[in-house]
Amino acid sequence: MNMIKKAGSSSLTIAITVFYMVYFALGGGVSPHGLAGDALGALLALNILLGAFNKAARCVSRPVITPAGIEAMDASTVIENAVNPDEAIKSIFDKSGISQREINGAYYGVRGRFSFVPEAVLRLGIAMFLASILISSHVRSQEVAEMGQGDSMDVFGSQITLDEVRAPLDEQLVVTGSQGVFTLAGVGAVISSEHGKIDITTGFPKRLGSEYFRIADIGYKQGVSIGNAQMDCFLNVLPPGKSDECNLQSGGVSFTLEPFNSVKKGLFTGKVYNLKSPLLNINNEIIVGEGQSMTLNGQVASLGKGSVYVSVHAVYDPALPWAYAGSMTALAGLLLSIAKLFWRMEMLCAVASGDKVYIGYGVDAYRRWAVNKFRQWVS
């Protein structure tokens, strides 16, 4: 019962957050799938939203003005033996610059009535994001498909075809020192299905049908023929120095990129790799390039045409747009919150009771200075 009364309060938000964090920590950091986690998350989102509604309602609604209510405000004063109470009230409102309104014989005025907006936007964003986490943890399903140009695959029951791969790989990549930095920008691909065609990148996911797609990784798709058998190896060997295994007929074989030259770069010697048409080092023994043959475990093997493959990450998740909307809204709320430095709500209330005039003042920030100002108005 007490908890219901405190719904929307910051103390309840803090309490639920602590419980949620403890649950999160005890769960080993995994997504909170359990019923208790869902309940806590939903409660937290609801309480955060309710807090925003409460504050908005307090700011927007008309106050009930009574002498007791005025005395409970941040600062209040009583003018005894007021000859003309209405005149006295008007004079204080004029001094404060807050416009005066009448309600059932009492007076009130609010400045910065909508100063709750930044906080409300922030709260709304957080609640949306929390809700999307909860929904996503139950409804999300995902697949990763390694595809070269022209490959087709069944993803969530739809036939997806990779029409084009864009990978700006260097023909001469120089790697110097032991800690080279390798980055690859501008990787993209075009995929199509019965729902249409989209251009996907390593950036934000894009929607095709009811699924979202994004490039998660890149590597080499290398054709290898041993005898009459032909197969494709998906080699995850980028950046240079990394090795990957491919299971050929004769067993697992290790592949690494091999430099084709070495150059002097400043003070140091660097290795030069051709990433467009790479040389491959097999089992640390044989170095071969596209179209070349070798003897592998007594069998003649030859490398066919090599190309680039991309790992396409496909996700079915109706909550994903809400997660983005929530995070963007929260970010907007956070930026808007800067306005709170100079945007605050002030409320001036006054009511005459007999020859006494009760005047109260409430403010939601910079209390010390605001109250001192109020005393100047009423002095």
Binding site: S10, I133, L184, A185, Y212, R368
Partner: protein, 450 residues
């Protein structure tokens, strides 16, 4: 034996400090129940430690208590102000919780005693008891002193509690038991939490980072899951309670003027109120200062100074008049970006110089001494530079110097030495090195700082 005396004296003194600060809280001195609680908590603490139980649970409980105590004064002020929670019971609970620290301090002492007593005989009990007696003796005068000074009348209970707990964090902790303190423990936890939360959000938004492919907001998530974000979060968490309390104290409005009072009386009332605010704010400022020291000490320990030993070099036989140092070899490789120190013996004098690969891929060579800082003979160990993260640090004035500015004269930068590179080697002309060394010595003759 001396170790046991020092440990018992130190722990007892820490407890005395804590208790004496708690005396500042109005009326606590009169309410003996608090004191009895503290004393009764101390004994089981000591005996648990003495029994040799130093499990993780005790350390975990202590860290949780310390962080809770740091936050409770701020929570008390917040709830008291917002009237959301009945704070009637919070204050005594807070004080009792504060006294729990005595339990942990005595448990630490018990552990030290356990280690020492198992090795020596009955005399050690006497040494332990004398250390405790001397450490606790200031308490005899404490109550009287407080009553005389009347400080308790003016003190602000949450502020005093915060001061007690932050000083305890500064002087106490669990280092006696060879463990990490609450700050470092929290830092570890924050790093874990941020790492996990970042990964979870990236997974949710489908923007998982990749080692070399572009990913949206990759820099943001890298920052959030890195050490700097964890450190920033920890600093915010530890510095928040004193800053919040300070803001609450300073933002209290002046008292409402009494219409019966004369203007002079009103002004006097306001002046008295503002003096009171200073009394309330003083313990908070002390605790803020203590927390800054805790944070700084912990952060400095995370990025220790790197100072390699001097490698002796001599004139090259192949190129007389030059010192030739290979840039990579069995001993070291300049490409790791670490500071290297060399010594050239010039007659009976040592010419110390440093070299390092700068982030732009060029080398920097300089004498291992500063143009400005000249430590005195007795303080010669403070001469030269060490590396801390991406900076060189003058060991004398602890000024960080950007590595990029190596080879540029002025300020706290090391004195540059001309050099050449060629064929994977660093070439320094001996004439240049000696000439720079002699000029530096001339400069040094002008005077020292100490």
């Amino acid at each position: 034996m001396a170790e046991l005396f020092t440990a018992s004296f130190k722990e007892a003194l820490q407890c005395t400090l804590l208790i004496s600060i708690l005396f500042f809280i109005p009326k606590i001195w009169e309410q003996r129940a608090f004191l009895l609680t503290g004393i009764s908590l101390s004994f089981p603490g000591f005996f648990i430690g003495l029994s040799g139980y130093a499990g993780d649970a005790l350390i975990f409980a202590r860290h949780m208590t310390e962080i809770a105590l740091l936050y409770m004064p701020a929570a008390y002020v917040y709830f008291n102000h917002s009237r959301q929670v009945n704070t009637g019971l919070i204050k005594p609970a807070l004080i009792i919780l504060g006294l729990l620290i005595l339990f942990f301090e005595m448990a630490s002492l018990g552990l030290v005693a356990n280690e020492t007593l198992s090795e020596s005989g009955g005399l050690s009990y006497l040494i332990l008891a004398s250390g405790l007696a001397i450490g606790f003796s200031p308490l005899i005068f404490c109550g009287r002193l407080h009553a005389k000074a009347g400080i308790g009348e003016r003190a602000h209970a949450p502020a005093v509690l915060l001061m007690a707990f932050s000083l305890n964090l500064l002087f106490g902790g669990v280092k006696e038991a060879g463990d990490v303190d609450a700050y470092m423990s929290f830092l570890d936890g924050a790093a874990n939490l941020l790492n996990t939360a970042s990964a979870l959000v990236q997974q949710l938004l489908m923007v998982k980072s990749h080692p070399f492919l572009y990913s949206p907001m990759g820099g943001l998530f890298e920052f959030l899951s890195g050490d700097r974000a964890a450190m920033s979060l920890t600093v915010v968490v530890f510095a928040f309670p004193p800053l919040y309390l300070l803001a609450k104290i300073i933002s209290r409005p002046d008292p409402e003027p009494d219409t019966q009072q004369s203007p002079a009386e009103r002004r006097l009332g306001i002046a008295f109120f503002r003096r009171g605010l200073m009394w309330h704010a003083a313990p908070v400022l002390i605790s803020l200062f203590a927390i800054i020291i805790v944070i700084h000490t912990a952060n400095a320990s995370l990025t220790p100074m790197f100072e390699p030993p001097f490698v002796p070099v001599r004139e090259s036989e192949d190129a007389p008049g030059n010192i030739i140092i290979p840039l990579s070899g069995r001993e070291f490789d300049f490409s790791d970006g670490k500071l290297r120190k060399f010594v050239y013996y010039y007659g009976n004098r040592q010419v110390l110089f440093i070299s390092m690969l700068k982030p732009d891929g060029t080398l920097g060579v300089a004498l291992d001494e500063c143009e400005i800082c000249k430590p005195a003979e007795w303080n010669k160990a403070a001469q030269g530079y060490a590396q801390r993260g991406g900076h060189l640090v003058c060991k004398y004035c602890v000024t960080p110097v950007a590595v990029e500015s190596l080879n540029k004269p002025g300020g706290c930068n090391p004195i540059p030495v001309p050099f050449k590179t060629g064929d994977g080697t660093l070439i320094i002309s001996l004439d240049d090195l000696i000439s720079v060394y002699k000029s530096a010595k001339e400069l040094q003759k002008k005077g020292t700082h100490l």
